[in-house]
């Protein structure tokens, strides 16, 4: 080392200059949750049980998603549609109970691919937080998308940014 280098001070000044210049740089931080990051179109978030455009549940409890699931996270119980429930369920059979254990789910998207009725898909929301383990077993209340006819705003929000291109 030369005596100039041994003094360290020029190097220190240079380093200080570098950190100072960072004060004026744009911050890459995103102010979550006020601002959310746009995801790519293929992002796989928390599941949603879909409805059709008239607000009827699409799921017929065929069980293909549960079979396709490699983590065995999905359980369901089927029930028959009664008279007068035509506005609620699309076909004669429906899922009386539909549960996904989010602690087991690996968000692979195979359920989405297996579904013949376009009833389950993975949304763009991704923040499942809870205080207890049993809170991570999502029932139909948690999964079912809001009715597009009666709650259009909540429906649009639940649909999220699906299909939108990343900026």
């Amino acid at each position: 080392m030369t005596i100039w280098e041994k003094m360290y001070l020029p190097a220190i000044a240079k380093g200080m200059g570098i950190t100072f210049s960072h004060m004026f740089k744009k911050k890459p931080t995103i102010n979550y949750p006020e601002v959310t990051r746009p995801f790519s179109a293929v992002f796989r978030g928390v599941h949603i049980l879909n409805r059709d455009e008239e607000g009827r549940e699409r799921c017929t409890a065929c069980g293909l998603c549960a079979v396709a699931c490699p983590a065995e996270a999905i359980t369901m119980e089927a029930a028959e549609r009664q008279k007068g429930e035509e506005g609620l369920y699309r076909e004669e059979k429906y899922a009386a109970k539909y549960e996904i254990n989010m602690l087991r789910c690996i968000f692979c998207g195979l359920c989405e691919e297996a579904c013949p009725k376009d009833a389950i898909y993975l949304s763009q929301t991704f923040a499942p937080a809870n205080y207890a383990r049993k809170g991570f077993i999502y029932g139909k209340d948690d999964l079912l998308i809001p009715n597009p006819k009666t709650e259009p705003e909540a429906y649009a929000k639940a649909k999220g940014t699906i299909g939108k291109e990343i900026k």
Binding site: M16, T19, H22, T29
Partner: protein, 348 residues
């Protein structure tokens, strides 16, 4: 003389001054913690605290509240009274230094001439050094009373660091004292107002003083006391809640006070450059302006401290000792000799 006459107004005036200065020091220290985090964030392209209040300005209150509600733990094997004395001593010594600093000139208010200095004593500089060196006791007592080997080692490390750098600090200051010819802090400020700031005559002295001040405040690159991962934390390892808060808070007060001391000794104290303050008279607002000027200078130093902290890596212990004993002390001695020769040549 004043006390013999038992001038109640004098007492009242000093009490108010003490209250104002201690409050200022505490508030500045409190917001230094906020500034530290904000500055660290902007230097690292982050946002820093932004949840509590607008821009996170209530963060220090939230931190304080948290410290108050945390569990107090006093280790069974510790010597209780000493264990509690440690953080108290840290706070006391940190605040005591402010007594001799001239926070402004003399102002005329309510028909009285009030000096904005708690005690204008002849040995001001010596008093500062005396009190600062008492800070070593808080570290040693804190480390010893914890009854933990690691705390004790850290305390010894911290104490030897403080003592080593205090030597260089004192020596770097001797040159200034030779130029001014007084140990009275108000005289040092007056000399600078008349003859230009000391930084012009003593740049090397200031550099040494500044580096030593960093070490005295346990700031990076000399923050071995805070090396949690590498060195098992410091002398305050066993401390919890507000007692730990006191130790950390005292470091921030120390930083503020040493910034003020540096501004006083090298940057003209409350003097505004190229402005003849004396011509303004001694109205109360002149006192306010000069106080603000001193605060501004101190804040710039605090910023510098923080800027350094988020730039430089920590010293290894032997590097730290080498810099202190083989670098700064010889440099301070050379600076002293050169100053003496120049002063002799100028026949002053």
């Amino acid at each position: 003389m004043y006390l013999l006459q038992f001038d109640w107004w004098f007492l009242l005036e000093k009490f108010i001054l003490i209250a104002v200065i201690v409050t200022t020091a505490l508030v500045v220290a409190m917001y230094s913690t906020y500034a530290e985090r904000k500055i660290a964030a902007v230097l690292q392209d982050r946002r820093g605290p932004n949840r509590a209040g607008p821009f996170g300005i209530l963060q220090p209150m939230a931190d304080g509240l948290k410290l108050f509600f945390k569990e107090e733990i006093i280790p069974m094997a510790s010597s209780k009274s000493l264990f509690i004395l440690g953080p108290m001593l840290a706070m006391i010594t940190a605040l005591m230094t402010s007594a001799v600093i001239p926070w402004g000139g003399t102002i005329h208010i309510f028909g009285r001439d009030v000096s904005l200095q708690i005690a204008d004593i002849n040995i001001g500089v010596l008093y500062v050094f005396g009190v600062v060196s008492l800070g070593v006791y808080s570290i040693m007592i804190g480390g010893w009373a914890s009854n933990n080997k690691f705390s004790l080692l850290a305390a010894i490390r911290g104490a030897s660091q403080m003592i080593s750098y205090e030597l260089a600090m004192g020596m770097s200051l001797i040159a200034v004292l030779m130029i001014v010819g007084s140990l009275r802090l108000s005289a040092i400020v007056d000399h600078q107002i008349a003859n230009g700031w000391n930084i012009l005559y003593q740049p090397l002295g200031f550099l040494i003083f500044f580096i030593c001040a960093l070490a005295e405040c346990n700031r990076t690159p000399f923050d071995l006391a805070e090396a949690e991962n590498e060195l098992n934390f410091g002398y305050h390892q066993e401390y919890s809640s507000m007692k730990l808060g006191f130790f950390l808070f005292a470091e921030y007060i120390n930083m503020f006070i040493s910034s003020v001391v540096m501004a006083t000794l090298f940057f003209g104290g409350y003097d505004i450059p190229f402005v003849n303050e004396a011509a303004w008279g001694n109205h109360w607002w002149v006192g306010l302006i000069s106080f603000s000027v001193l605060m501004l200078k101190a804040c710039l130093f605090i910023f510098l401290f923080m800027w350094i902290r988020w730039t430089l890596p920590r010293f290894r212990y032997d590097q730290l000792m080498n810099l202190g004993w083989k670098g700064l002390i010889p440099m301070a001695l050379v600076n002293m000799i050169i100053t003496a020769v120049v002063l002799l040549a100028l026949n002053k």
